[in-house]
Subunit: 277 residues, 2 copies
């Protein structure tokens, strides 16, 4: 695979960064994951806006302009012959002196790579784990390179026989999966936790809410505790890589399923084709 | 400078890791910072124990045994001719497939590098910032590579004209500086926040508490809010790199200073010489 690394096209085995890169040392950076279909990244503008806003908040310069980077995405797809793939864009503050102060680190690093589209899992069992996300704060708004809570939560869920972790905030409210926003369906209404509880403003979350409006499905934001999910009809995660992922179990309770999930899944696939077709 | 990278001795400009290393992508790893004096790392055993405990919690294999790595520290010091320096040990889970699950990442990366001892700052003004640390949880016990809160807190403090940030937990209690544990002196008693509030169990924090006992100085743990620090006589941070750093201001309030800080600073220097002399 050919990787885009700071403007150069590099075979993956030679795509390396310094051991003094601040994202290696501190997770000092951001990333975005996008679905590429027919050679085009889905929801490019929405991902770019979150990425740029996050970089501004962290004070990291994005070393390429939006239009220029969009052209490189096309070239990356062509070079790798991967018109249907997952695009990952990683930004790091780059190398710097020892210590947390970012004052002298002015040479940011940008990496883009393509990955195969994983199969949609036939079953996805989620489990609440003991690790907490912050209940809010500015960093929750961005996809930062500080993902150890998600990594350990996923590992704990897998160790307990599940496929994915469900994370709570420090007040005990449900926030999201380790790698996707959570939705559930209760009495025909599609629900998801409000952003105020520390929820990542997922691009696919926004697409799903818009889809509910388009399709005339009732939708509401709702702050819940894990116990409140025991009585729901269906639940799913939204991810930029896979779209809508139906959940088959939450904390050992099987979901009966809902035609609304199929309806949204079809609507999502149609939207991807409409935008990238 | 020569860097120790997975068992190899590499010039720093060639000390690189993959862009798919999980510490670059997620901050999925740990580090330790130790003072080296007379060629010997101070409090090696204590740092090693925290490091090993953290690696076990994260499920990352440490690719070298304690005694073997201790020998490499000596060799690193000799090769770089830096008997008085700062040693940084960084552990990463290494490269892995895209996604948070660490299940298939079994090739961890260990880096050791030496850095000059920074001068003890003549003044250190700290400022409370708006970013919060978690109030507890297992990850607070270890020096993980997820340090974006500390990085941004430091940047915000520096932007406000201070030298260092003071971080609170989500309940509003004082936790620590971005790069050191906080102590203060009130009516002759040395105080520091209890670990339960999400405080990193700093090695230099433990040395300082032990020093209070050795020197017959009154000590207590105390949970405080930032306003409670306005009336203190003196305050300092403890860091493995610099030892005891006297604070000259907290949130624009000048500290009058205390001979107890000098007493502890001298005691700390003596202890370093005693162990590493």
């Amino acid at each position: 695979m050919i990787v885009f690394l700071n403007g150069h096209w590099v075979p993956e085995e030679r795509a390396t960064i310094s051991v003094f890169d601040r994202s290696f040392l501190y997770g000092d950076g951001l990333f975005e994951t996008l679905r590429v279909a027919n050679g085009r990244p889905f929801r490019w503008i929405q991902h770019w806006e979150r990425f740029e806003e996050g970089a501004a908040f962290l004070g990291i310069q994005v070393p390429f302009k939006k239009a220029s980077l969009r052209d490189r995405v096309s070239e990356l797809v062509t070079r790798n012959r991967m018109p249907d793939s997952i695009l990952r864009i990683t930004l790091s503050r780059g190398p710097g002196a020892r210590g947390y102060s970012p004052a002298d680190a002015n040479s940011s690093t940008l990496v883009m790579s393509l990955h195969p589209v994983p199969p949609v899992p036939a079953r996805c069992r989620v489990r609440t784990v003991g690790l907490c996300l912050p209940s809010g704060g500015p960093l929750a708004r961005f996809k930062t390179n500080n993902k150890l809570v998600q990594v350990i939560a996923r590992a704990q869920a897998e160790a307990a026989g599940a496929d994915e972790a469900l994370l709570l905030n420090s007040e005990g409210f449900v926030v999201e999966g380790s790698s996707g926003n959570l939705f559930w369906i209760k009495r025909g209404v599609v629900c998801t936790p409000p952003l105020e509880g520390g929820v990542l403003p997922g691009v696919t979350r926004a697409v799903t809410i818009e889809l509910c409006h388009r399709l005339g499905v009732d939708f509401q934001e709702s702050a819940v505790r894990p116990g409140d999910l025991a009585g729901v009809e269906a639940a799913f995660l939204t991810q930029s890589s896979l779209g809508i992922v139906n959940l088959t179990e939450i904390d050992d309770v099987p979901m009966q399923g809902s035609p609304i999930v199929d309806h949204l899944t079809d609507g999502y696939a149609a939207w991807v084709l409409e935008e990238c077709g």
